[in-house]
């Protein structure tokens, strides 16, 4: 008798508990850990919690995106639903496609209002695996004051950039400015160099290393020419150790007032304008130069939000993703963190431009945005990318010529592909 009673009480308790969790789910979100990421994340989450009554727990990740990816892949390997919503780098959707939820039924067509290039990047095999949260692209930063001093205009092609950088560097050094260099970029052997190399090659009409249909296109004279052009920079217009520069090394030289041009991501703009910056008010920003092929190419960066396939609350998680990637929340994030929205409409929104006038400078940059070949190469993208940065660095440091580098790279990529399809 007493057992029956106890059993009934237990069952009732279990039901109440189950009903409780169904009403208010707790969603675990990994939303970055660099700079102000977590602070911004908390502010945005608070709105969603107030609106839906669901709880949010923030999952802390390593800083490096490579380490984050390795961590997620280990969790996915264990079919763990530990993280419901995760921040996904622009090159990841192809790599972790098997583990992400198709958001098409939840998005209800809203994806059509984001930048099409990013949506294409996030769609793998017809499934919308992530929604863009904020975007980025390779940009050219220049010293307006130095260009004015020597009556030079902003270079439109890479050849013009080399010539202008050389002329200003030589003149300034003669005038006693010994530490000035013409151009800094990311030459270290890591993902950033792949982004830089892709920009040189694509602008020169040399393709995108691996084409969207899976063809390995790198072994062509235009790609070789682009690498040879870059190989002339270290030791002439760029410092010799540019081959050890990541984003921050390049920025420290440029922001210290010691470079005429810099290739970097949009974050450098905000920092250059801060109090205490040596170059405040002396900097311009534009799309990267065109190549011989007559087009300009900027590597697409930025982050998306996705839902893990192993999440216990897929509907709530998808709702959170749609909420955070909405126009309103992206506007809020842009104002809080200076991030670039993925809604083209926001770039011409008068209210938005009034609050953040710097946004107008970016319109147009994303039209030339080139995606890295990550969607087509899928799980093998990292191997592809490391082959690209190794071959590029070998050319930059003078160990190989462009033509040999692209031939070797083609061979290496064929090996990575293992067979006819990626």
């Amino acid at each position: 008798m007493i057992y029956k009673k106890l059993w009934r009480a237990l069952a009732a308790f279990a039901m109440i508990h189950a009903a409780g969790t169904a009403r208010a789910a707790e969603i675990t979100v990994a939303c970055g850990s660099v700079g102000t990421d977590i602070e911004v994340c908390r502010k945005l989450m608070a709105d969603w919690t107030a609106k839906t009554g669901n709880k949010v727990r923030i999952f802390l990740t390593p800083n490096s995106s490579t380490d984050q990816l390795a961590l997620y892949r280990q969790q996915f390997g264990a079919r763990s639903g530990e993280v419901d919503v995760l921040m996904v780098d622009v090159v990841w959707p192809g790599i972790i496609k098997e583990h992400l939820l198709d958001l098409t039924p939840y998005a209800k067509g809203v994806q059509a209002q984001h930048f099409p290039a990013i949506i294409a990047n996030d769609t793998v095999g017809g499934k919308l695996l992530a929604l863009p949260w904020f975007t980025d692209a390779g940009l050219l930063f220049y010293r307006q004051d130095l260009l004015d001093k020597y009556h030079e205009k902003v270079p439109a092609t890479w050849a013009e950039l080399s010539a202008t950088a050389q002329r200003i560097q030589d003149a300034e050094r003669r005038a006693g400015n010994r530490d000035l260099v013409g151009f800094v970029f990311q030459g270290k052997a890591y993902e950033g160099l792949t982004c830089n190399a892709l920009e040189w090659i694509a602008a020169n009409g040399g393709g995108t290393v691996v084409e969207p249909d899976g063809r390995i296109s790198i072994n062509n004279p235009k790609a070789a020419q682009a690498l040879d052009m870059a190989a002339r920079w270290p030791g002439t217009i760029a410092p010799k150790n540019v081959t050890s520069f990541a984003e921050e090394e390049a920025r420290s030289v440029f922001q210290g007032g010691n470079a005429v041009f810099m290739r970097n991501w949009s974050y450098a703009w905000d920092l250059a304008q801060k109090d205490g910056s040596k170059i405040r008010g002396k900097v311009g920003m534009t799309a990267l130069p065109k190549g011989e092929g007559g087009r300009n190419a900027s590597t697409l960066g930025g982050w998306q939000l996705a839902v893990s396939k192993y999440s216990a609350h897929p509907a709530e998680a998808a709702d959170l993703v749609l909420f955070l990637t909405s126009k309103e929340m992206q506007r809020k994030r842009a104002l809080l963190a200076g991030s670039l929205p993925t809604w083209p409409a926001l770039y011409s929104d008068p209210q938005m431009l009034k609050a953040a006038p710097w946004l107008a400078r970016f319109s147009g940059v994303f039209e030339g945005a080139t995606a890295r070949p990550s969607t087509v190469t899928g799980a093998k993208y990292n191997a592809v990318s490391s082959a690209v940065w190794n071959a590029t660095q070998a050319t930059l440091s003078g160990r190989t010529k462009g033509a040999d580098a692209v031939r070797g790279l083609e061979k290496e990529l064929t090996k990575v592909r293992r067979g006819a399809a990626w």
Partner: protein
Amino acid sequence: MVKTLERPAQKTSATGLARQRRRSAVAFLAPMVVVLVLVAFAPLARSLWLSLTDARIDNLSGQFVGLSNYVGAYGLFFTGDGWIDPRWATAVGNTLRFAVVSVSIETVLALAVALMLDTEFRGRSLVTAAVLVPWAVPTVVSAKLWDWMLQQQFGVVNLALAQLGFERIAFTTEYPMWSVVLVDVWKTTPFMALLILAALKMLPRDCYEAARVDGVHPVKVFLRVTLPLIRPALAVAVIFRLLDALRVFDVIYVLTGSTESTISMSGFVRDQMIENGDVGLGSAASTVLFVVIAACTLVYMKAARVRAGEGT
């Protein structure tokens, strides 16, 4: 440990006491064997199994693929273009070069340091403690420390060079392998020195007395008396360092990253497993690394024994 227990047993194998002692030896060793199987052999076996599959970091239950991670177009050896995959060859070459060069330099320097510390002088204990400091610093910390000191624009080494009127040098990009060797030598020489110093302290003083009475030149004393006597300890120190150097990872990873000019075998394994997520190929590489280390140890131990045999 096994030997010391067995030796008396062999002499009196007929007695019951010996049998009892052997039984208790087995009983005492059993827990150790179990622990070894759990923490050393089981992971090794799993790694060996993974190297025969196409396991990925997000799907460890891969398909059995035979030896294709080892040999063939997508393996480490006999890729069709040559007998060894070029990137793996680079990693193997770098590792061997690093091991031989750094251990040689460390041995010579450590011997000098140990001989110096073996003499009597004021403040010797202070110097001994100071010499040990690099060894006490974790490798990641010391590598990062040197990375900053060698930095071209603001590193203290380049600052000094510039003050003296020399050109600034981008050490870690222009001389990546030498930078790595430099940091490793700085860090591990004290360890070697300490091992050698311990051997020096054990030397019988009467040999030196006799040599002094006979008026033998100090260099000859060193070559004929000191060196042969500390040879076994030196061999142990070298083998310890060699094994350590062959599996080098941290100092290279922190100082130069995964670049072709310095990547080690362990670095290659990490790149394949973590960056590329290819656990199968990574496990194959780590198994080869294990075999290489085991082979080096066996060859060295054999050689050391032969030489020790000649000496007596």
